[in-house]
């Protein structure tokens, strides 16, 4: 006696193959999700308590990065400017602007401004700005065209694979030390030839050492 209808033949085969594909796709989806901006927050502009525009300050006015991020050349942490730094100018310029009230308030009360962190490396990584800046890694290389960001966002995924990409062949990214803080830098010569030269010049360590675990993890 016949238990199943003719159609079940097709259905059963389709579902059999379907299951395999489905699981495969699911896995691929998870991996993609993990690398996606949804996880990394890449290219997501963060709101800030204060409408501070890098595009204006760094881009239009052309203030040097180091004017605010003072410790970038000598410490692991680039440094977030104290309210005092803002007031250096804004006690004169836009001194009465309502936009800047939070700054003045902070300066009056001694209450810090509370910024939302944009570049938040994965935990258990010890990143040091000083060594990168001193070895000719430009701000732009990791932070993107800050001079074109009204609100700051994270230009790179900041995931380990991304770090390794540069640690494995730095010559792709190195630039002359005097160009570290310039935005939109275009090398006169071929990046690779320049990179190889600079790599020698800066005495960068071997790839083995640059990709050693304890270089970043302790």
């Amino acid at each position: 006696m016949q238990i199943f209808h003719r159609s079940t033949n097709t259905i059963s085969r389709v579902s059999l193959f379907g299951a395999v594909f489905f699981i495969g796709i699911l896995l691929w989806l998870f991996y993609d999700l993990e690398a996606s901006p949804w996880t990394t927050q890449q290219n997501v502009a963060r709101n800030q308590p204060l409408q501070f525009s890098h595009a204006h300050h760094a881009g239009a006015i052309g203030i040097d990065c180091r004017y605010c991020h003072t410790s970038v050349e000598k410490a692991a942490f680039a440094g977030i400017p104290p309210t005092k730094t803002c007031m250096n100018c804004h006690s004169q310029i836009w001194a009465q602007s309502p936009y800047l009230e939070p700054v003045r308030a902070s300066y009056r009360t001694g209450e810090s401004l509370q910024w939302n962190r944009v570049h938040d490396l994965p935990d258990f990584v010890y990143f040091n700005h000083a060594i990168h800046v001193n070895k000719g890694v430009g701000c732009e290389t990791c932070h993107g065209r800050v001079d074109q960001m009204p609100l700051m966002w994270q230009a790179a995924p900041l995931q380990m694979a991304w770090c390794l990409e540069c640690h494995r062949n730095p010559e792709k990214y190195l630039r002359p030390k005097d160009k570290v803080f310039t935005m939109g830098f275009l090398p006169a010569e071929d990046q690779l030839t320049m990179g190889r030269r600079l790599r020698k010049e800066y005495g960068l360590r071997s790839e083995a050492l640059l990709t050693t675990c304890s270089t970043c993890h302790r």
Binding site: I3, E34, P157, Q159, M160
Partner: protein
């Protein structure tokens, strides 16, 4: 797969000639119905509910202890420095060992054309799967951070990292998962024709559909049988080296390490022998009560029990040889560490466990030399039980006594299982039995279509 011609059937010499692999008077129909009945009957026997209930409670204990483990951390176990591995790995090896009989019976005995395998291979394979399931839990649970177990698998990730291929633990992952997969396939392939039988016997629509789906529409076509047997044979051929390799790889967990008492070349062979040993012990422990409860004495005859007894005796002797070589090497290696570990096993704080295991694994099985013992089910059952315990003790001795006193006396320590250690272990026994009871209830515990080949009717009378 083979047509029994009396003159061709290799009947081993000795008393066994008189004990057939299936009692006379059975026909295609009676065999089919007798086995099919167990599954298709509406009335589930009382003892089933009883047994399943108890096993289920034990399984709950397992879940509880796993929950506790994940909440508090492996600290709830007895492990420490220097004894980084405790019950978890002991149980892992024990279960994996038990999980060897099924595939071995199905594959190797098939290749050796041992027809008596027919009536026991089905539930032996099931037992294998469930044992492997239990075993598979432990390597995951014993990790400090079990939820990261998938880091041992190769897959694309944002850290650009891979497993460390030189670590035997990674080999384990591949070996155990492969073994589980292949055994499962082997088991299922064997079930397909029987599913068809059940589909055709089942009266309730639901069962018809379920078994119908599982049978994939098997219709016993000669074409299909032809390919089917080829595939089955090939699988057997593949599973045979696999089954050997799995416990070899498990033994690598120890031999690759430099710890005295672990770092030894005898481990792979004697681990494999031990696995077969333990596996058959467990098959006996299960089959003896089962044939009684389900009245299958006609199918699982004394011949089966006797043969399994003989195999246990043989493998038991190999294992014994393993122990001797270990002790010998301890002295012969000339390394103080090795010698100390060997002596420490016999005289140290864990001497009791060591001598107990010698008693269980070497002394007790010697009784199997006597036909009386081999042909008395309840004695066989006791012997098998003792061997089960002994094999667990063996793993305990290997894992603990080697670690607790290694190279630097300054960091020697002691190990004792905690409540949670025991709860987890007993819990897995619960898991094992629960699965087994479900299997008995819903799947044919004996391969029906293979049994048909054994009844006299199956004889084709060729006209000369």
């Amino acid at each position: 797969m083979k047509k029994p011609k009396p003159d061709l059937v290799p009947i081993p010499p000795g008393q066994d000639r008189r004990v057939p692999v299936i009692e006379p008077g059975y026909t295609f129909a009676s065999v089919t119905d007798k086995i099919g009945q167990i599954v298709l009957t509406r009335r589930t026997p009382v003892f089933w509910f009883f047994g399943f209930g108890i096993s289920f409670l034990l399984m709950m204990a397992l879940l509880a202890s796993i929950g506790m483990l994940l909440f508090r951390g492996v600290g709830i176990w007895g492990v420490n420095i220097p004894i980084g591995w405790g019950f978890a790995i002991i149980n892992f090896v024990w279960w994996i060992g038990i999980g060897h009989a099924g595939t071995l019976i199905s594959a190797i005995l098939l290749l050796l054309r041992q027809e008596w395998r027919t009536s026991i291979n089905r539930f032996a394979e099931a037992m294998t799967l469930f044992a492997v399931a239990c075993a598979g839990l432990f390597p995951v649970l014993h990790m400090g951070r079990p939820w990261l177990a998938y880091w041992l698998l190769p897959y694309p990730n944002t850290m650009a990292l891979w497993p460390q291929w030189r670590s035997p633990l990674v080999w384990d992952v591949f070996a155990v998962s492969t073994y589980a997969t292949v055994s499962a396939l082997f088991w299922y392939v064997g079930l397909i024709p029987d599913f068809a039988t059940l589909r055709d016997r089942a009266r309730r629509k639901g069962f018809q559909i379920v078994y119908g789906m599982l049978s994939l529409g098997w219709r016993g076509s000669a074409q299909h049988w032809h390919r089917y047997e080829t595939a089955y044979l090939l699988l057997a051929g593949l599973a045979t080296p696999l089954v050997i390799s799995v416990h070899t790889v498990v033994s690598f967990d120890f031999t690759v390490a430099i710890t005295p008492g672990w770092h030894s070349t005898i481990f792979p062979p004697y681990f494999v022998a031990g696995a077969i040993y333990a596996g058959f012990a467990m098959v006996l422990t299960l089959s003896i009560p089962l044939r009684k409860l389900y009245g299958l004495e006609d199918f699982i005859t004394l011949r089966h029990l006797q043969n399994m007894g003989k195999i246990m005796l043989a493998t038991g002797l190999i294992v014994g040889y393993g122990y001797m070589v270990e002790a010998f090497m301890g002295w012969y290696s000339g390394s103080p560490g090795e010698l100390y570990v060997t002596l420490n096993r016999m005289l140290g704080p864990y001497a009791k466990a060591y001598w107990a295991l010698i008693l269980c694994n070497i002394v007790t099985p010697q009784t199997l030399w006597f036909r009386k013992v081999r042909s008395t089910p309840w004695i066989l059952f006791l012997v098998a039980m003792v061997v089960n315990v002994g094999m667990w003790l063996e793993r305990f001795v290997i894992v603990v006594t080697s670690l607790h006193r290694d190279f630097l006396p300054s960091s020697w320590g002691m190990y004792h299982g905690t409540f949670w250690d025991w709860a987890t272990f007993i819990g897995t026994i619960g898991l094992f039995l629960s699965l087994l009871f479900l299997f008995l209830r819903f799947l044919p515990m004996i391969s029906i279509f293979e049994m048909r080949t054994l009844v006299p009717e199956a004889e084709v009378r060729e006209e000369p």
